[in-house]
Amino acid sequence: MNYTGAEIIIKLLERHGIRQIAGIPGGANLPMYDALSQSECIRHILARHEQGAGFIAQGQARVTGRPAVFFATSGPGATNAISAVADAKLDSIPIICITGQVPQDMIGTDAFQEIDTYGLSVPITKHNYFARSAKELFEIIPDAFRVAISGRPGPIWIDVPKDVQMALVEFDEWPKNGVADNNFSLDMQSIQDAATIINEAKRPIVYVGGGAIHSEASESVQALIEKLNAPTVMTLMGLGALPSRHPLSLGMLGMHAAPFTNHALEECDALIALGARFDDRATGKVAQFCPDAKIVHVDIDASELNKIKNAKIGIVADLDDAIEALSPLIDSKEADEWNDRIEQLKGEYPMYMPDLVDPTSAYGIIDHVAGMLEGETYITTDVGQHQMRVAQAYPFEYPRQWLTSGGLGTMGFGLPAAIGAALEKPEATVVCFTGDGSILMNIQELITAVEENLNVKIFVCNNNSLGLVHQQQDLFYEKRIFAANYSRAVDFVKIAEGFQMDSFDLGTCVDPMSLIANALAKPGPALINVPINVYHKVFPMVPPGGANKEMLLRDRVTA
């Protein structure tokens, strides 16, 4: 058979099950785009910024758990993609970025739209490749898929010079597809020791992170915690591993956790960490995080064990496999004094969400939207106060329902990620809660949502400021608010109109409940402006650098 490098790329992507690719064409990737135009099974989604394309791919990968691919051209295309790929690295999302590059004989000459893409992508990818010949693509592409999904998932970047895309190759067979490595052997002694610690614990807490989602382990996690009757906390990335309303769920832990959650953690004598990495937002001051607890830490990435807190027992394994081995060795526990103590703590240190009944308030909008949504739904957010409120208040029900930028905390994530989710789940409703600051960072993708006619409902929590910055300055910088308030208020309804998207304004309406219901019911994308008071803060809040129990609480009198 005779194929060009570009055709080989497209064919191999088809063989790996890729069906929708977001991207933007440019000089250096025209051959790839020409080959893509001939594909009968891959659709292209034209984004309006490569960062948007990258986050669209993330949305796809986060809801399916399978690798997603996006394309960008050389030079500015590559540099624009960097934030989305770095974000995927920190949240362990399998996306594959394939960029065009100037022809090899021009590399190093400061050619038009030339940049050291390979060099720039080293620190922000799980692995990256530079294709020196079309023949190398037969190894690179399957390997890229293998690396993206093996062990701890992560982003891959493949840089392909234009001459390689155009080179013709003669060959007989297509290579085998890349499949996940399967080289984990469980250390049964560690499993036994872990079981002993857990069985002896009087006040265990299970701490579930993003790893539980990535390994599709939420059913086994749920079975385990129910067997133990163990109260369970989730990280921002772990939300949805357990339904928020599960009786054993204590919700999110850490910087913006409910008051009772951080108190409970202080009292636990065994912390069972499943697929979590003891991130500073979760632990607060490490020395004071679960000070009396023996730690059992299960993670697929060996370098996460003992990185922050020393584990009594560290187990390197796929979470599902580890729980399967562990569960039979664990004694069932009935609900006991520890569970009573938890209920007591909930009563003494309740979570207070003001104005929940008012659908136009910061928490109220989340609660009412959640109540009105039916069927399959996915929730994305941007970054800031709105993100924390959704994490605190939204009743998540299943894994992969929740898409948020955790590790890198990238404003601009929400809208394109929602687009990616909707592309993979066209029957579902995808709600994007965003802020006025965040949505402007990838606002151009509004037209992408319209072109694809996706069920994406964008709620702009609008306080005309960088809310979380404002909050920090108000609380920790002696109210010196600087560069956190926008001096002009953007009219998002008008912007949406310009992008040909239906828009609604809760600020000027008489019947907010109907307005929200209409916006959700009508098929297709919609933007809903939700005015919010900037002085309404997110509480509790652990001051940066503080211990979790030093959290600041909401004063019931002031906001």
Binding site: G119, V122, P123, K126, H127, V147, D301, A302, S303, K307
Partner: protein, 75 residues
Amino acid sequence: MHVCSLFARRAFNVDGVLCLPTGDVTKSRLWLRVKEDLRLEQMILQLQKLEDVLAVRRHGASHAVFERIGEYFRE
């Protein structure tokens, strides 16, 4: 490149680097001279995660390799 970038971005100082192909043309050996540091264990675990790294071996202080090559680096 991946190896040096890993040390650089974690602000872990490397004061000596040697790299040459081994007898097997597809593989190279990289010698790094670093200060004893609490984070060395973490660095070794991170090195092992790199796709291009096949194995990591730790040697004691002042291995002969840097002494001998060091002759070529005197002023």
